[in-house]
Symmetry: C2
Subunit: 179 residues, 2 copies
């Protein structure tokens, strides 16, 4: 992953920024969708649906890339909000810099690997949302992202899982009682 940082540093268009917790980097409807690489801290992306409810699409801790890929790729209006859950340091850059003409083949391959991994994770996400009850999604999340669960309030874990904070609370209650 180090080499990605180097790529980003070498990119003249990439600029590092320090951000306070709570700062909103991108709002639904913005015309200029950006991509962010998180050096330190924690970002998240989310939508607000037609009923005003928040749904977290992903968390981005250190070394993750976060963006509204759909908006970038299909030139659609931005629909994802992106904000800071902790004081963070991020690099804002153009998505194409992962595959710059002057980067070596090895680096390109490594970056392609990153895309594959993300697709793999998204695949799992879709399958979980379709096929598993809330409790399974929760235990999977806790197993897969144990560090995240300490840094993120429960209500956000809930909206990441696709349920309400109340539902997660009662779920946790049941789990605790039955053990």
């Amino acid at each position: 992953m180090e080499n990605l940082v180097n790529i980003l540093r070498a990119d003249s268009k990439a600029k590092s920024i320090s951000l306070k917790k709570g700062i909103i980097l991108q709002r639904a409807g913005d015309s200029n969708a950006s991509t962010f690489y998180v050096k330190k801290g924690l970002l998240r992306s989310y939508i607000i649906d037609s009923k005003g409810k928040e749904h977290i699409f992903m968390f981005a801790p250190e070394n993750w890339i976060i963006a509204d890929l759909e908006a970038l790729e299909f030139n659609e209006p931005v629909q994802l909000f992106i904000d800071c859950l902790e004081d963070s340091e991020v690099i804002s850059f153009n998505k194409d810099c992962l595959f710059k003409a002057d980067s070596s083949k090895e680096k390109i391959f490594e970056n392609a690997q990153l895309l594959y991994r993300r697709i793999g994770k998204l695949q799992r996400r879709v399958l979980m949302l379709m096929g598993s009850p809330a409790i399974d999604r929760y235990t999977y999340f806790m197993r897969t992202y144990p560090k995240l669960s300490n840094r993120v309030p429960q209500r956000m874990i809930a909206t990441y899982l696709g349920i309400t904070p109340q539902a997660l609370s009662t779920l946790r209650g049941k789990m605790a009682r039955s053990r």
Copy 2:
């Protein structure tokens, strides 16, 4: 997309196969996960959950690539079934051939583009599953894949959307009546 076909043809490991409707190319639990490029016909990938219910992850008509990316990428056991919904002609290949050392930069970039697009589509899928009621997911599906809806039985559209065939049927009934 033509160039992808050429890449596949040039790859010595890639082999073209003709398949009858109903053939199952890959089952959950198989050790050797493959990637398939669809030249003609229609494939799908799906899971069978703990209660024996089918959930379709994606359809792959002409020119699409279909695979259990999670299994390939993280060396996990295959969890996706892949089968033929129509008589098909497919090329089975190794995923790495999208980024072969001897392919030109332009081709690599184009292939990277394919990955971005897929991530964009998956993003939308997740957001729909989390944030939209079944009826919105259905109308979005019909708008986005109008040709597919003629080639695929309704019960499969339902399990792609994450609802039961009955639910989709009543949904369609309501929509027809209210118009």
